[in-house]
């Protein structure tokens, strides 16, 4: 899977939880998930569970805690997929 494909799937998942739909339009890998997209911080748990289901991976809590931007999420998933 290319990085672009992973990015698209990540954005689709995060988009479910984003309160700022406008920021979703202009998002990039540098976009901050909580601050820019206004995802409720409690819902990060659900975003990670959705990543696990979508990509068939397991994400440890400490790895999840290091995800701040969309790019962080894409990199984490790429690393897990190998």
């Amino acid at each position: 899977m290319s990085r672009d494909e992973t990015y698209a799937k990540v954005m689709e998942i995060i988009g479910r939880y984003a309160k700022n739909k406008d920021a979703l339009e202009g998002a990039s890998e540098d976009t901050n998930i909580l601050e820019d997209l206004k995802v409720n911080s409690a819902r990060l748990v659900d975003v990670i569970l959705d990543f696990e289901d979508e990509f068939d991976i397991e994400v440890a809590d400490e790895d999840a805690d290091a995800v701040n931007t969309v790019g962080d999420a894409v990199s984490l998933i790429e690393a897990k997929l190998g």
């Binding site: 479910r16 939880y17 309160k19 700022n20 995802v39 409720n40 409690a42 990060l44 659900d46």
Partner: protein, 425 residues
């Protein structure tokens, strides 16, 4: 401090209709919302019919964001749609997420009898017992906490006054109205969204089925299964849904020129203490009469002013006892007894939502000047035969309808009684 409290908005998600216009039409025409539920066949329930609002998931997608829907079980969906409808019906707009204005003088009392047991049964128990707690995600607590629906509503509408959930079994919805009215009367709030919601779940209904209090005689004729006041009543039909009333101080309503449906004249709440024949599951007949009389005293009316009784009347063996209590408390004879009927004959027993669903029916009837039919009681119970003339089997036009008394009785021997009066301007 005692202020007058009026009703300026309504929202309803009922088994026989969603939305006010459809609900009024269903009530007038005696449209049943009871249907066969195939899952109950599969699971060997004795009662295989229920009242479940139709088309709610499609509607919810129009009302709520995707992330909100992920955290909303059936009780949340019913309750939040009804609350948003009541808010808009009262003339207010839904605020956007990034508008920081809070309605400090508006709150909510939205109760539930059982709560998010579908989430517990479908998600929490299987995942936790399977050692997969981590997979529960972040939305479990808010879907099972008793105040989950009122909490969600406060966020949807930016409510800043007291936001809470009450629970008193089958009197919950009626109790919520009385509690919210008391807060406005006392000057602690200007507006309160009050009512109840109950999810549609076989896990809720199972305990009642095993108690043998659900109707098991009309599985093949669902619309005939809910038979309050009849000789052939054999138990209640489980229902679900939600209804919310937007209560408001008269001052606030007049100041903003709001459309007023009716006034909450008064009400009363009590418990029979499980004495004099009362128990966890049966009402103390003394406390029922006392509650009705207290409501009448609180409303400062005479018993003879009551035009219509919207009873608790579930279709168990308790219906004749309830009628006897009304006769005593209203000091009525067969000649003076008001019209009496049961909304449950159409929608089943909505448990924690029942009092609210039925109160919205009361307000629509006050406004429209009619009493809806009580279905399936052509064979009136012999113990109430003397009062049979008070039961409408077809819609009864009542242009002079002015005062309705509504009761809700619940497990735990708890009682609630509220009195509504048509707003004459």
């Amino acid at each position: 401090m005692t202020r007058r409290v009026v009703i300026t908005g309504l929202g309803v998600v009922a088994p026989n209709a969603v939305g006010l216009g459809a609900y009024e039409m269903a009530l007038r025409s005696g449209t049943s919302g009871i249907r066969r539920v195939p899952l109950l066949d599969e699971l060997n329930f004795a009662c295989r019919v229920a009242g479940v609002p139709q088309g709610v998931d499609e509607l919810a997608e129009r009302y709520f964001d995707e992330d909100e829907l992920l955290a909303m079980n059936s009780s949340h969906r019913f309750g939040c749609i009804a609350a948003v409808d009541a808010w808009e019906d009262a003339g207010f707009e839904r605020p956007s997420h990034d508008d920081d204005h809070v309605h400090w003088d508006a709150g909510a009392v939205i109760g539930t009898g059982i709560g998010g047991i579908d989430t517990i049964g479908e998600r929490i128990v299987p995942l936790v017992d399977g050692g997969r707690v981590r997979r529960l995600g972040s939305t479990m607590v808010e879907q099972v906490m008793g105040s989950g629906v009122s909490a969600r509503v406060s966020g949807l509408l930016a409510l800043g006054n007291q936001v809470t959930a009450n629970s008193s079994a089958c009197s919950t919805g009626t109790e919520a109205i009385i509690e919210g009215a008391a807060r406005i009367r006392g000057g602690l709030a200007e507006r309160m969204l009050c009512g109840g919601t109950e999810g549609a779940s076989h896990y809720i209904w199972a305990g009642f089925d095993s108690m043998r209090v659900l109707c098991r005689t009309h599985n093949d004729e669902p619309e005939k299964a809910s038979r309050p006041l009849s000789a052939s009543a054999g138990g209640f039909v489980p229902g679900s849904g939600a209804a919310i009333l937007h209560l408001e101080s008269l001052e606030s309503a007049e100041e903003r020129g709001a459309r007023i449906y009716a006034e909450v004249l008064g009400g009363a709440l009590n418990c029979g203490g499980h004495r004099s024949g009362g128990s966890m599951t049966a009402p103390n007949p003394v406390s029922v009469r006392r509650c009705i009389r207290q409501a009448i005293a609180d409303a400062r009316i005479e018993p003879g002013e009551v035009d219509l009784i919207n009873g608790h009347l579930t279709a168990t063996g308790a219906d004749p006892n309830e009628v006897a209590a009304w006769v005593d408390a209203l000091e009525a004879t067969p000649e003076t007894f008001p019209v009496i009927h049961s909304t449950k004959s159409m929608i089943g027993h909505g448990l924690g939502a029942a009092g609210a669903l039925e109160s919205v029916a009361c307000i629509l009837m006050l406004r429209g000047g009619f009493a809806h039919p009580s279905l399936n009681c052509e064979d009136v119970h012999p113990e109430i035969e003397a009062y049979a003339g008070s039961i409408p089997h077809e819609v009864r036009e009542m242009p002079g309808l002015r005062t309705i008394i509504k009761s809700g009785f619940g497990f735990g021997d708890v009682n609630a009684c509220v009195i509504f009066r048509r707003w004459a301007g």
